[in-house]
Amino acid sequence: MFHVAPTTRKRKVRIATTSLSGCFGCHMSLLDIDERLLALAELVEFDRSPITDIKHCGPCDIAIVEGGVCNAENVHVLRELRANAKVLVALGACAVNGGLPAQRNHLDVGECLTRVYTHRSEGMKGSVPSDPELPLLLDKVHPINEVVRVDYFVPGCPPSGDAIWKYLTDLIDGRIPRLEHPMLRFD
């Protein structure tokens, strides 16, 4: 069903992944490669990723980014990944185009926050959270290529497990990654 080059390489490929302003759907799709996860584990090791729970990433080969950039923390995480990775990949609709979170771009972010936190029913009075621990929202949600240099874009909402597998194995085996219909899709 699938073939992976024999694992004669000396060093495993080091991969970092993160979900910025996304829904983790793309990470779920990565898990959808199913039993091929075992083959992937032969080839790669993970740095910062929800899989390892490492908080800050070190030098790595590939950084896979899900989600767009919606707040200050997203910017810091994304820049850290860019600084450490040889290849940075925008995975899925939000990272590529801003996606669903970018639907708020035609609204004023201040208005959004006030509406959500202070206009409560039944006389409850709230206020916009101001804890410095919380990442502050940017006025617009940006696709990641507007904040850092991006090497590859893998579209899809989410990209299918097959597409992610094809892309990763191409890249790891040193081929030019190539996705064609029906794997290359934007929905």
Binding site: A72, D108, G110, L113, S130, L136, L138, H142, R149
Partner: protein, 599 residues
């Protein structure tokens, strides 16, 4: 200027009746309906839709497409500044700002008293005598601060444009080099007489022998086009004169239409004579509105002289008449199938070819679409024969070509040369002292650097529709390409994604470079975008929209590189400013609520 409901209704009815309530004339109807109040209110859209038996959405689809149709109130005086690169080089920005300041109105807005609105528009075809403006559709060349003040005073005292001093509207022909076409006298009717004497078959053979190729840029053989339309099975055929001279930097058709109209019309009649078409249509670009009245007059004169109408020159069965359609500010309508769509009253979106217009064009009938200059050339062939004509120019590009020269030279204007002339020769003749580059055939054409000035104007070397914009050594070629990028983003018809999105991204990247935020990454992106648009776009607009950028990057890379940031990447927006709104709402000002750029 608002009219009462009733008066408006009757006026609109008159417009509809005048256009025979023909939905194919929707663009003309909208143009005339807009003249009532200066814009098109929603009630007018509804009334037009009802009057023509169309859905409101269909009317809106056409209305939205053209930049000279307005869906919101405009000033009583609409002042549009031509914004071609040649206008910029002549200082149009400063004049615009001066005028905006004097009227106290911002770009694209209407002054509070509803008197005036000010905006920019694409090239108006007066590059040899710019900066140019349009006031209520009528062109004024050679703008200066003084003229701007004069116009300001005229508008302030509400003088109707028709009563403005005539010298404001004086447009020179600037013919600097006349050859075969511009230099010869022409007796109206003489070409028809010669063709009638030969008969349609023999005349077609002459046109084919001459190897005349279309002067609109594409260079298709005219005789072959005519023959195809003649042979197509149909009960009706059309001859269309493409006078939608929208390519920035081109203005030779304006001169031909203004000073040689009888040649153009007679050329159309000749095409009718050969193909059997009885109807001719001139698609005149909206920017040339001031030519409409004199052209109509000329048509009436030709009809009176039996050079148009029924039984032309007494030949029974040779009936041919011409109607003028006005465009409404859409560059894409210069593409022949988009032009046909527009003639049919629709948005000007290019059709899929084949079928080609010669088989299935206007109203799905065989249609010959010829450029203004091409139609003038066929009168020469009627008079001199194809063999004589063939002697001029080069083997593959016979005859002469009219160039519209503008930019950094002492004598901008119209130059007619036999094909095969070297670019350097033209530069010498027009008095270009120290040229750095020439943009040939407009933004969609080719940019040539000094090392290529030995190349020749001909279909087999550097083909052109006529534009010849000269840039002196002090010019920044990035600024030129930047201007073109915005032109294409504005003029993309929006039909296909590579062009609609590609031209917009391209313009954004060029803005980013201009602002000093771009890096090598963006340079690669531009090349990549060009490849996508070139191979993936539906029509020539998208296919060529990245050409000028690719050319200037290749030949004048320094003009780009000195603007690049020496970094891996830099966002086009200010991250700290992007946090300002949320800072204000949360009342935070801690270190984490700021992002002072470190990258």
């Amino acid at each position: 200027m608002t009219k009462t409901g009733k008066a408006h209704e009757t006026e609109l009815d008159r417009v509809l009746d005048r256009n025979r309530r023909d939905r194919g004339r929707l663009v003309q109807i909208l143009r005339e309906a807009q003249a009532i109040e200066g814009w098109i209110p929603p009630e007018t859209v509804t009334a037009i839709a009802q009057g023509l038996g169309m859905a409101i959405g269909e009317v809106e689809s056409t209305l939205e497409f053209y930049s000279f149709f307005y869906r919101r109130p405009r000033g009583d005086y609409v002042v549009l500044f031509s914004d071609n690169i040649t206008d910029r080089m002549l200082g149009n920005q400063a004049i615009f700002e001066h005028m905006a300041r004097r009227f106290g109105v911002a770009r694209g807005e209407v002054s509070p008293d509803g008197l005036v609105s000010l905006d920019f528009t694409s090239c108006t075809g007066l590059c040899d005598q710019g900066p140019a403006i349009l006031v209520n559709g009528i062109a004024i060349p050679k703008m200066t601060l003084r003229r701007a003040d004069q116009i300001h005073d005229l508008i302030r005292s509400k003088v109707p444009v028709s009563d403005w001093p005539k010298d404001l509207f004086e447009i020179d022909h600037n013919i600097r080099r006349a050859d075969m076409l511009l230099g010869s006298d022409f007796m109206p009717g003489s070409a028809l007489k010669a063709a009638i004497a030969m008969g349609p078959e023999a005349f077609l053979t002459e046109v084919k022998r001459s190897n005349l190729r279309g002067r609109g840029g594409a260079g298709f053989t005219t005789g072959v086009k005519w023959e195809a339309a003649k042979k197509a099975q149909a009960d009706e055929r059309f001859i269309v004169c493409n006078a939608d001279e929208g390519e920035p930097g081109t203005f030779k058709d304006r001169v031909l239409l203004q000073f040689y109209p009888e040649r153009v019309f007679e050329g159309m009649a000749l095409a009718g004579f050969v193909t059997g078409a009885r109807h001719g249509l001139v698609y005149l670009r909206g920017e040339y509105l001031y030519l409409l009245a004199p052209l109509e007059e000329k048509l009436a004169e030709l009809r009176a002289g039996r050079l148009l109408g029924r039984a032309i020159q007494g030949v029974e069965g040779f009936d041919f008449d011409i109607e003028i359609h006005m465009g409404a500010g859409a560059y894409i309508c210069g593409e022949e199938t988009a032009l046909i769509e527009s003639l049919e009253g629709k948005a000007g979106r290019p059709r899929i070819r084949p079928p080609f217009p010669v088989v299935c064009g206007y109203r799905n009938k065989p249609t010959v679409v010829n450029n203004v200059e091409t139609l003038c050339k066929v009168t020469e062939i009627a008079l001199q024969g194809g063999a004589g004509y063939e002697g001029f120019g080069t083997k593959q590009s016979t005859g002469t070509k009219i160039l519209s020269v503008s930019g950094d030279c002492e004598r901008p204007g119209i130059y007619e040369y036999p094909f095969g002339v070297r670019v350097g020769q033209v530069l010498d003749d027009c008095g270009a002292r120290s040229p750095k580059a020439v943009q040939i055939s407009g933004p969609a054409g080719t940019c040539l650097g000094i090392r290529e000035f030995g190349r020749r104007i001909a279909f087999e070397d550097v083909p052109t529709a006529g534009a010849f914009m000269v840039f002196g050594e002090h010019r920044d070629m990035f600024a030129v390409a930047h201007n073109f990028a915005h032109f294409f983003a504005h003029e993309s018809c929006g039909f296909c994604t590579p062009c609609r999105v590609g031209t917009a991204i391209q313009a954004k990247i060029m803005d980013k470079i201009a602002a000093g935020h771009a890096t090598q990454y963006e340079m690669n992106e531009l090349q990549h975008l060009h490849d996508v648009m070139r191979t993936g776009s539906h029509c020539g607009l998208g296919q060529t929209a990245g050409g000028a950028i690719a050319d200037t990057i290749g030949k004048f890379r320094d003009d780009y590189e000195q603007k690049l940031a020496r970094k891996d990447f830099e966002p086009a927006f200010d991250l700290d400013a992007a946090l300002a709104r949320a800072r204000a709402v949360t009342g935070r000002d801690d270190a984490d609520s700021h992002m002072l750029d470190h990258a």
